[in-house]
């Protein structure tokens, strides 16, 4: 199997941080967007150079809210990408956007979308989250359901024929029926791809504080799971493939970039706090924006080096590789095959593997076997001669099953 390579670019700015968000993001108005863009361009250039200008199959600009950058800033970034990497013909190039951040007037919005098309973006992912204005307001989102409908219209008009919409469920106070009504409205927009996440209350967010103060009641697990399975059913009936725990796509529209994370492919991460997996190493850039900007303020002289400041830098062992292959692979509807798992295992090993993949797999995970079979008996996991996969019920407690293999 020919492995693909992706490039992830992080834009850590938002107009406003949502009440549930624990991700790395700064206020778009007051943050050094220009300086950050310059540093990012330098990192892209430098890493491209260091890696020998590799071919890449996907580009994903995420955040934060990438659409808050000026058109010229985004163009500089994408130009750097094209100069430093060999972006393949037909590559999937995604930009994340939030509704109502593409521009206040239709004209501005259309111009921005047009510019994105010129830069090469052919997929757009929009953080809709809900289609009810009270719930959107409660979550601290700045847009309305009407904005979403209007944005989608303009997005389509500009020729984006591969659009993902994010939907969140289990927002405090929300019932299964509420979530399904949001889903109906989203389906009305006919996106090619839908991501559905249940809201998680994280410490240090406004929702986290509210939960601690007893001002917020989390949706009970039972309701959350009922909603999830209902969503799966409705989407299946609407012709979407449930190809990953949280992801649904019309045939032919699975996210190629996200798939890289689940099949142990290489991906290069650039930008603040971005993660990457290259040359068998997992790394994560630092999260201190000032230190980041300083580190990439200048490119070195010809042939010089930059000490890239990393928060994490780990050379994977064979076991790391197979373990990650299994728990990321289990996120996919097709699960993980023994062959694929063993491929990951043999990546950094000497010589070929002589053992049968299935036998080798269970030798490596001998300790997990008994419990895994117990999950099979309970109808949560399927194990056959090819490999392993979760059932839809198994997804509910997927962490427990995955933790057998770490």
């Amino acid at each position: 199997m020919i492995k693909k390579t992706g490039l992830y670019i992080h834009i850590p700015f938002c107009v406003r941080k949502c009440n549930y968000c624990a991700f790395l993001s700064f206020d778009a108005e007051t943050s050094p967007r220009k300086e950050y863009t310059d540093a990012l361009v330098n990192e892209i250039t430098y890493r491209g150079e260091q890696l020998g200008h590799p071919e890449i199959d996907t580009v994903y600009v995420g955040g934060g809210t990438p659409s808050v950058l000026d058109i010229s800033q985004m163009r500089d970034i994408m130009h750097a990408v094209c100069k430093s990497f060999r972006v393949k013909e037909g590559a999937e190039i995604t930009i994340e956007a939030n509704p109502a951040t593409l521009g206040r007037k239709d004209g501005v919005m259309l111009a921005k979308l047009q510019a994105y098309r010129f830069m090469g973006f052919n997929r757009l992912s929009m953080g809709v989250q809900a289609m009810d204005n009270d719930r959107l307001h409660y979550m601290g989102r700045l847009h309305t359901a009407e904005n979403v409908v209007r944005d989608m219209e303009l997005i389509r008009r500009k020729g984006f024929d591969n659009v993902n919409l994010d939907l969140m469920f289990s927002i405090p106070g929300e019932t299964t029926e509420d979530a399904l009504s949001d889903l109906e409205r989203i389906l009305g927009l006919d996106p090619e791809h839908i991501s559905c996440y249940s809201l998680q209350i994280e410490e240090g967010t406004p929702f986290g504080d509210m939960a601690e103060a007893g001002e917020l009641t989390e949706v009970p697990d039972e309701e959350d799971r009922r909603t999830y399975h209902e969503i799966c059913r409705v989407l299946r009936e609407a012709g979407y493939e449930h190809y990953e725990i949280s992801n649904f796509a019309k045939p032919g529209f699975r996210s190629r970039h996200n798939s890289l994370y689940w099949d142990m492919s290489d991906y290069i991460g650039v930008g603040l706090g971005a993660s990457g997996f290259t040359d068998g190493r997992r790394y994560k850039n630092i999260s201190d924006i000032e230190a980041y900007i300083e580190a990439f303020a200048k490119l070195p002289e010809e042939g010089g080096r930059i000490e890239i400041p990393l928060e994490e830098d780990h050379l994977n062992s064979s076991f790391d590789n197979i373990s990650e292959a299994v728990f990321t692979g289990l996120r996919r509807s097709e699960g993980i095959s023994y062959e694929e798992a063993l491929d990951a295992y043999m990546r950094c090993a000497e010589g070929p593997m002589h053992e049968d993949p299935q036998a080798a797999f269970w030798r490596i995970f001998a300790e997990a076997k008994e419990e895994a079979e117990d999950y099979v008996r309970r109808g949560l996991l399927i194990i056959d001669d090819k490999g392993l996969k979760l059932t839809e019920q198994g997804i509910d407690i997927s962490n427990q099953i995955m933790s057998l293999f770490v």
């Binding site: 998680q200 309970r378 509910d396």
Partner: protein, 602 residues
Amino acid sequence: MSYLDNIRNFSIIAHIDHGKSTLADRLIEKTGLVEARDMKEQYLDNMDIERERGITIKLQTTRLKYQAKDGQEYILNLIDTPGHVDFNYEVSRSLAACDGAVLVVDATQGVEAQTLGNVYLALDEDLEIMPVLNKMDLDSARPADARAEIEDIIGLDASEAPEISAKTGMGIDEMLEKLVEVIPPPKGDPDGKLKALIFDSYYDSYKGVIIYTRIFDGRVRKGDVIRMMNTGKNYEVTEVGYCIPGTVPSDELKAGEVGYICGSIKQVADARVGDTITLASDPAEEPLKGYKKAQSMVYCGIFPAEGEKYENVKDALEKLQVNDAAFNFEPENSAALGYGFRCGFLGLLHMDVITERLAREFDLDIITTLPSVVYKVVMKDGSVLDIQNPSNLPDPILISRIEEPIVKADIMTPNDYVGSIMTLCQNRRGKMIHMEYLTKTRVQLHYEMPLNEVIYDFFDALKSRTRGYASLDYEFLRYQPAKLVKLDILLNREQIDALSTIVPEEEAMAKGRGICEKLKDIIPRHQFEVPIQAAIGQKIIARETVRAYRKDVLAKCYGGDVSRKKKLLEKQKAGKKRMRQFGQVTVPQEAFTEVLKLDDGK
């Protein structure tokens, strides 16, 4: 003038936190044995656990040299005493090795229950007691009040008690002068038959057991064959010497002196504290008074946790036993927890110390079960069984009666808290024997209570109700008949033997309900509902349900951050290791110890 005139053998006695160890440090520093820079904080407390908890469990003895103002050089043998009620016997033997004691009273706090308890122990040994007032560097010191309390409550003349600060070193010289003057020199006949008291021992991997001893009569040298008068065992002496600190060999030890003896002894149980050493060739007629066998008061099960080897736990327990005569264990088999050990301890603190050392020093993953006392079960056929494991309680039909251990508990408290302490003791089946107003604001309450009620967090409850002001001292009194039943716990309809307890019949309902509620919080949700039931015999008396676990899924692998996800999964796996599977119910380890810490404040 005899060499004996220049020896002083003494202990420091104090309530916990009153600064005993700090004072010992200062004395060692003052008399120049250890350079200030080599001083660890509290030199004598040499186990990590002791230092963390601010208590002394194992004894340390130190020989100090002091040049007094009268021009004489004195040998001061400081014999440290363990500072907890569990170790009363050990304290009494240490005191028996002394001729006097320095009584440290915190000038900011005054006299506490343990101060009194330890003073009584010292008085029982006929010791000269020299009070000193510590913590005089603090603004809150009330020396006049503390003096008055010493006089009113203990009855000692405290008018000349030195005012010191063990922390800053203030008044230490004056104290040492006073000590030499007040504490009498030892008596004894170096040419008499050997009589030496063992007041502590520990195991050294090179020398075998090292005995700390005070020679009362006679002398002992390398090569002598000694006999333990109570156990009757003989050993050849391989080394004698002084503790300066550490072990420094000398030619001999003679009457009045304090030092150590080694003799290739394999475990400390063979050199039991309180035993008398004599010469096998020329034995003394009578041993010294006061020898007692170690008696375990509290028992609990110790089992290897999932993934831990039985053999590792066994090795560790054996190693600990070599060094702790008061600790014993035997194999036990539990349906719920597999093969493990039933272990006996002097008290709850002793138990905590041992289990913590197993985890910390031996890096073992263990599960400890609920502590239990020893019940005397009188059978209908007249035989008497000692039962310390609730699951071994015979069928009630065969039992004539059950007797439980009762302790005498002395609680000292400011009078404001008398009401709430009385409620607490009443809830714990305590019977008030007497109440004394020691001063206008300080009260001593004397209770008789089942030991069973004291071993579960009674001390914590007492402290929290009195904002830490009350102090507790207790000792075993007698066995007494009581109406007791075995309370069983069923998880998913399976009885978990390790969760069985023996409780008073009238409290069974409330206790059962309490345990079920507690377990409901501790036991994680499963894929199915888990009924938790409390039962006496066949009768279910309480029930709770753990709702089924529905969701354990992390939706997003944000921006390809696989490492973060992996860490979460690894954490989850480690957490699971700490749990046990019963049928299909996963029970976290803490369930076994947390379950009876029921807050009876409500």
